[in-house]
């Protein structure tokens, strides 16, 4: 078991004919992900790695039965690509693209939610259910199957921590990189809820960052839950943003600081560690105590 994706996920690659899209499609296929086709307007009728290319997601979905998509289109077209997938009936949509304007994502993220689709990202590394399906751009070799559910706002810090997990014999059920943009489709809490409902997930790693209140939200939800769980907050020594006027401080109402996040996790009994080494050591200890 796992969350969001598994070996049966049928994947369309939006932007499959681009440089990054092509590179990572090959890597996903090599991993064993079921890539059933791709979309690039104007390239319909051609093939990439023997997979059919379609002009629109709707056509691709109708002809392949895809239920999942991953987006590599340039930033200016990314929000449109997300909406195209959601309207075509794709249920899980991963948007890798970085640099998507905020005002493009605000209405699109809300509309995707309304349509009942699940968006991961944008500006994220994607997700992976080790041994079954890789839907993203992460280096596959560091992952291994196992009981740890993993959520992170940071791509590269995820790799760092996962590498550490795997080296220590702790495999992962699913690893989700939810993305670092201000407006994203799936939050920390969304993932934590899904993991708690997944029988294969027996422990949790949460990698947060300063800014926003989603770590706090997830922490509150975890109060009283007895799953072994550890967290890390990046940016504890980052200088406060120079350029956000008063509004940033007022809108957050004091939420979003590293200390606030640490406090929220501590209150929920979730230790916050300084380095990935310490993080994994602590998790190992807690899993042993909980006998999972």
């Amino acid at each position: 078991m796992s969350i969001l994706i598994n070996k049966n996920s049928k994947i369309l690659v939006q932007g499959i004919t681009g440089k990054e899209g092509g590179f990572h499609t090959r890597q996903m296929i090599e991993y064993g992900s079921q890539i059933v086709g791709g979309c690039t307007p104007g390239k319909g009728g051609t093939t990439v790695f023997d997979r059919p290319v379609f002009n629109t997601v709707l056509e691709g979905k109708n002809k392949t039965g895809a239920d999942t998509s991953i987006i590599f289109v340039p930033a200016a077209g990314a929000a449109d690509a997300v909406l195209e997938a959601a309207h075509a009936g794709i249920k899980t949509i991963v948007c890798i693209t970085e640099g998507v304007p905020i005002q493009d994502m605000v209405p699109v993220a809300a509309e995707v939610k309304r349509l009942g689709a699940r968006l991961i990202g944008p500006n994220c590394p994607g997700l992976i259910t080790p041994g079954e399906c890789k839907l993203g751009i992460m280096p596959a070799h560091i992952f291994s199957p196992g009981p740890v559910g993993f959520v992170s706002r940071s791509g590269t810090l995820t790799y760092q921590a996962v590498d550490e997990l795997t080296r220590n014999g702790l495999g992962q059920s699913t690893c989700v990189g939810i993305g670092g943009d201000p407006v994203i489709g799936t939050s920390f809490l969304d993932c934590v809820e899904m993991f708690l409902a997944d029988p294969a997930t027996k422990a949790l790693v949460l990698i947060g960052e300063i800014g926003g209140g989603q770590e706090e939200e997830a922490a509150r939800f975890l109060e009283g839950k007895d799953i072994p769980c550890v967290a890390m907050i990046a940016g504890r020594t980052a200088p406060p943003g120079k350029r956000m006027g008063h509004a940033g401080a007022i809108v957050s109402g004091g939420v979003g600081t590293a200390q606030g996040k640490v406090d929220a996790f501590m209150k929920a009994g979730v230790p916050v560690l300084d380095t990935t080494q310490e993080l994994v050591a602590e998790l190992k200890k807690r899993m042993a105590t909980a006998k999972v």
């Binding site: 905020i102 992170s152 590269t156 790799y159 890390m232 990046a234 504890r236 200088p239 956000m244």
Partner: protein, 377 residues
């Protein structure tokens, strides 16, 4: 991207938001002429991208055009928290009756833009948010439809202020949101939104920040960018295509890929007792040329006593990074130690290239941090 108060006021006037009357001056003579044109007491205000200019002596009042000239002479060229003042805004001196606050930004937790209003505006607004949170009124705008009149009304009528004033504030909120949307802002702030003794309501200050991801849609913004007063290293970063560089005041140069990893690197360097000289995220998929640029940039900071490369490749490929380092070192004279940590996509190829060129690669991030801190102490 940020702009100056005078530029913000120009954009506000364009959408019909009244501001204090005035114009920008680059020389004392211009300041004098503008003051003469205004024909009454004026304020001469430093145009500089940093808060607290008032306390630093960057705002002076002048009764006569001659005094305005003197004031401009004193302010232009002044150094405020490390930034040089190049221009002053000369504007009518206003008699304020009440100061409100109006700000628009993204509420990331709500997933939409929020308009905020407070009847207790002015310099201490952040304190008001802490001591009188009930005096900060918020309007979360409709994610699809944009702000609706009723949403603004629902916010404003909670204040209990006089209806006549609220109708004016409503107009400011609506037009400020129009400006915010039109220009892809991440911040539009009027503080104070001033009710004057003569009954007028004006934007007495204007702070506007833009979404850097959307500036491609607004080519007019390029003309508004005033590079002269930016930090020279941050300017140099932009010229090199490095958009995620922030200069700090330590001595350990840090280059990594991914904001989280770079933040994590800063954290661990700090924990080991080092002081980071900068934050530099080369982003996903950086190629050799960009990596070389990054190295060149960090080495051009005279405070830097050593550089830590921390790369964990996803889109970014180890061989590209390794080639970039080799290339970068060839372009400058390397006088400080370099510690490299490289994992992830094409890690083997990258390590091979570095080994060929005589560089050692640290096994872990912790080890790399310890090493660079030891070498720069």
């Amino acid at each position: 991207m940020i702009i100056h108060e005078y530029q913000g006021k120009e954009l506000m006037n364009e959408v019909g938001i009244p501001t204090t009357k005035g114009r920008v001056a680059a020389t004392p003579a211009e300041a004098k002429a503008i003051a003469a044109e205004i024909g009454k007491k004026v304020a001469v205000k430093a145009q500089v991208h940093i808060g607290g200019r008032g306390k630093a002596g960057g705002i002076k009042l002048a009764e006569t055009p001659e005094q305005a000239e003197e004031a401009a002479k004193a302010i232009i060229g002044m150094d405020i928290k490390g930034l040089k003042v190049n221009k002053v805004l000369v504007e009518e001196c206003i008699e304020i009756d009440k100061e409100f606050y109006l700000g628009i930004t993204l509420d990331r937790d709500a997933g939409t833009h929020v308009i905020m209003f407070s009847p207790m505006g002015g310099v201490d607004i952040e304190e008001v948010a802490v001591t009188h949170p009930d005096q900060i009124f918020k309007c979360h705008t409709h994610p699809w439809l944009g702000v609706q009149d009723y949403e603004i009304r629902e916010m404003l009528y909670k204040t209990g202020l006089d209806t006549k004033i609220l109708k004016q504030v409503h107009m400011f909120a609506k037009k400020a949101f129009e400006l915010y949307r039109k220009w892809d802002c991440v911040l539009t702030e009027i503080n104070p939104l001033a009710v004057l003794k003569d009954g007028r309501v004006v934007a007495a200050d204007a702070k506007i920040n833009f979404d850097d991801n959307a500036t491609y849609r607004h080519p007019q913004l390029e003309a508004m960018r005033e590079v002269a007063e930016e930090d020279p290293l941050e300017r140099s970063a932009k010229e090199r295509g490095l958009n995620n560089y922030v200069r700090l005041d330590g001595e350990v140069g840090i280059i990594g890929n991914g904001a989280g990893l770079v933040m994590g690197t800063l954290d661990i360097v700090a924990r080991e007792g080092g002081k980071p000289a900068n934050f530099l995220d080369v982003g996903g998929g950086a190629n050799a040329a960009l990596v070389a640029n990054a190295l060149g940039l960090v080495l051009s900071d005279p405070n830097v006593k050593g550089v830590l490369f921390n790369i964990f490749g996803g889109i970014t490929r180890g061989d590209e990074v390794a080639n970039g380092i080799v290339q970068g070192v060839k372009q400058v004279e390397l006088k400080v130690p370099l510690v490299i940590r490289l994992s992830g996509t094409n890690e083997k190829e990258g390590r091979a290239i570095l080994a060929e060129n005589g560089y050692e690669v640290a096994a872990t991030m912790e080890e790399a941090a310890k090493k660079i801190v030891a070498l720069t102490r």
